[in-house]
């Protein structure tokens, strides 16, 4: 079965600084990859997804992620972080055939003024 590792439990960045959240996956077939964001007290909202094609995908709120098959990674990036980006971020990998999705443990982002 597939699995996801988010190596960073907690990251702090200054407002306006760039951001990269790491995600590594393990899956034997073509992965379907997702990033979700969970703001305090909220449910999970999809930021972006990768199914096939261009390995650099754009999402909402100015986020992007790059799929690197050779590194089994799907890192999330944002060039300039806003205070409202403070939240929990989850990476997930799914299997198309049976909708089996596995989530990482999440990375909590704190934004310093």
């Amino acid at each position: 079965a597939q699995s996801v590792t988010q190596p960073d439990i907690h990251i702090t960045v200054s407002e306006g600084a760039s951001l990269e959240l790491r995600c590594n996956y393990s899956y034997g077939a073509t992965p379907y990859l997702f990033w979700y964001v969970q703001s305090p007290g909220q449910g999970l909202q999809l930021l972006l997804k990768y199914f096939s094609g261009d390995t650099l995908v754009q999402g909402i709120k100015g986020f992007e992620a790059e799929f690197k098959r050779s590194q089994s990674s799907f890192n999330l990036r944002k060039p300039s972080v806003h205070w409202s980006d403070a939240a929990e971020y989850f990476c997930a990998v799914g299997a198309w055939a049976n909708n089996d999705m596995r989530f990482g443990a999440g990375t909590r982002l704190t934004v310093k003024p």
Partner: protein, 115 residues
């Protein structure tokens, strides 16, 4: 259209009592999932329903946990004889059937507190 809804949004109960949590998936979504999110933890998969197939119960932590899905739509997660360690946010998600769509749409969750 309406998203995934869950009720209640908050539930406080006493240790040993039974609780029922409800999830209304997006209309037309045949797949439904339950997750548990404990304080500071990631998402813990509990159970997965797909159409009329037998549910995948592999994530249920104990036999005190059960879930059903009536008419292929609404689902109820039941926790019997609640324990303090059951305190968590319980999230429900739905998606299209396999090979039609994999993205999961999440409800706002039910925050369960066991005193």
């Amino acid at each position: 259209g309406a998203g995934v809804s869950q009720s209640p949004s908050n539930k406080v109960t006493e240790k040993g009592k039974d609780v029922e949590l409800r999830c209304d998936p997006i209309s037309g979504h045949t797949a439904l999932y339950w997750y548990r999110q404990s304080l500071g933890q990631g998402l813990e998969f509990l159970i997965y329903f797909q159409g009329n197939s037998a549910p995948d119960k592999s994530g249920l932590p104990s036999d005190r946990f059960s879930a059903e899905r009536t008419g292929g739509s609404v689902s109820t997660l039941t926790i019997q004889r609640t324990q303090q360690e059951d305190s968590a946010v319980y999230l429900c998600a739905s998606s299209l059937e396999p090979r039609q769509g994999i993205e999961q749409f999440f409800g706002p969750g039910t925050r369960l507190t066991v005193l």
